[in-house]
Amino acid sequence: MARKESASSPWGDFWSAFSQNRGAVGGLIILLIIITLALFAEWIAPYSATEQFRGMTKLPPIWAEGGNPHYLLGTDALGRDMLSRLIFGARISLFIGLSVMIVSVIVGIVLGLIAAFLGGVVDSVLMRIMDLIMSIPSLVLAILVVSILGPSLTNTIVAVSVVYLPNYVRLVRGSALAEMGKDYIIASKVAGAGPIRLMFVTILPNCLAPLIVQAALGVSNAILEAAALGFLGLGAQPPTPEWGAMLADAREFIRSNPWIVTLPGLAILISVVSINLFGDGLRDALDPKLRRS
């Protein structure tokens, strides 16, 4: 309310709508903390993510009985500091989430615009391919792709990007088609704008809002999917502190040392929740129809 004067700019509009959403702001704050942890892991984490403290294996967190004050969240099966691994893991998970999002957004924009512009056979073929990808259960498809390429961090990103690609292609194609019928496009066509210019400069910016929302939620989906792959042993390879892989590695200790399993899962949950809250806020703020509610 205090910043009424800025309400006229689109950014100000957006921010005032966004900041009214307490969940979104909370999500953003947590997300910023996670990003900070990820960026400055070397300085924040008390130890290296891979250093093994022999004889210090499977320590519980400090608040539990038998906790050791040197290891705030305890240690894993190899005596590596849990807190440090979780912090470095944030970097891996965010990296996966962002990479998947960037790859699928870029490819999605290109394919979606091509489909919308060229129409006809190209459009049909592209859309049938997307149907095909969507008709295979996502996890089965991701596993198949990783099995072909071999398990690694990069291939996880490739696999998950393939799985989520259709969402972006369809979205971009749909909004581009909707935009193309509008007067201003016809006007620029008449004014002699080339198809590339038309695609990227005129139409794309007008489809951005739904794309941004989809992309934000795509990051969290990618993190979840990658963690599921890690859980099935097909994700990042040792000693990478990927959360899903940490969870899978520790699964055998679920009875004897349950917190080794609990903590990485909690880390996944917290970061995905924060991204989703943030994404919800984005959507509400960017979608004028829902803004009132």
Partner: protein, 337 residues
């Protein structure tokens, strides 16, 4: 209507053929040989390896294998599992009821809880119920369900002893003929007392785990769709006519608010099958999700091919069904499609 369905089915045909081709190539790109992968430390002699590759037709050029496969498929033959030598279709039909039962239960759980919760949240917008529900919903669809399943087993089964840990029925106490493969139905058909309730008990936890994400999505969708509808003119008119609030909501608002919800339910089906893979793994549930994952490990080409085809075909069919249902609720759509 029938014309619409047939047209849609026809449109899926190229997708289906492409799917056949892509899975066929893809699984052959997975490193590892289906004959070799099953041997232990002994390995297998090159002569015997060559013999089996020949017997299985794996020494043929890939295009020829593909044509063979399509030919057989057109005759309804999905091939034979390389690891168990049982017909792929037979294995699928044995395992699929378990997945279907689980998926159906999960979806039922999500709809039965999600729709009313979403409606109440919308009607009481801004209340503590609304806030709590929406908070829980974000957590719900952010849930890594493999972890959620493990956690629930530890808490509910182990900690509180409320539900069994895994499996579909107590095998010490009950045993009966299973003509349908749906344990809920079979246990009812059997005259053994308590069998049905034992089956229900076994279903509860997997159902919750699988239903969590759809529940969150459905609750959110119902709420926002309901909010939109409640501000429409005809709802206001209905109110103005003096109809009771309950009737306004159930008769006028909900009916229209459900249209997008039905779509969302349809979209969840694919995700449900993916979730079933993880849920089945955690709960040792004998379904097709686990079956497919295991066959990747075993390089069981016929199962992977047939399994993916069958499941995708079902996903396509279900989506078609949803479209038809959509048309039924909202007659305007039919012409547009």
């Amino acid at each position: 209507m029938i014309k619409f369905i047939l047209r849609r089915l026809f449109l899926t045909l190229p997708t289906f053929v492409a799917l056949m081709f892509v899975t066929f190539i893809a699984i052959r790109l997975v490193p590892g040989d289906p004959v070799e992968v099953r041997t232990g430390e002994h390995g297998i002699s090159p002569e015997r390896l060559a013999y089996f590759r020949h017997e299985l037709g794996l020494d043929q050029p890939v295009w020829k294998q593909f044509l063979d496969y399509v030919w057989k498929l057109l005759h309804g033959d999905f091939g034979v599992s390389l690891s168990s030598n049982v017909k792929v279709l037979t294995e699928f039909l044995t395992l699929f009821p378990a997945t279907l039962e689980l998926a159906f239960a999960g979806m039922l759980f999500a709809v039965v809880l999600g729709v009313p919760a979403g409606v109440i949240a919308a009607v009481k917008r801004g209340s503590w119920f609304d806030h709590t529900l929406m908070g829980a919903a974000v957590a719900g669809f952010s849930m890594p369900i493999f972890w959620w399943g493990l956690l629930l087993i530890m808490l509910v089964s182990e900690g509180w002893g409320l539900t069994p840990v895994s499996g579909r029925i107590d095998m010490i106490k009950y045993y009966f003929d299973a003509p349908t493969g749906f344990m809920l139905i079979d246990s009812l058909l059997s005259d053994q007392k308590g069998a049905f309730s034992s089956t229900l008990h076994h279903l509860v936890l997997p159902m919750i785990v699988l239903g969590t994400v759809p529940l969150a999505v459905i609750a959110r969708m119902t709420r926002s769709s309901m909010l939109e509808v409640l501000s429409e003119d005809y709802v206001r008119t209905a109110r103005a006519k003096g109809l009771s609030e309950f009737r306004v909501i159930t008769l006028h608002a909900l009916r229209n608010a459900l249209i997008p919800v039905v779509t969302v339910i349809g979209l969840q089906v694919g995700g449900l099958l993916a979730g079933a893979v993880l849920t089945e793994t955690i709960f040792s549930w004998p379904g097709v999700g686990k079956w497919l994952i295991d066959s990747i490990g075993r390089r069981d080409y016929p199962i992977l091919q047939g399994g993916i085809l069958l499941i995708s075909f079902l996903v396509i069919l279900i989506n078609l069904f949803i479209d038809v249902l959509y048309g039924a609720i909202n007659p305007r759509i039919r012409h547009g499609a």
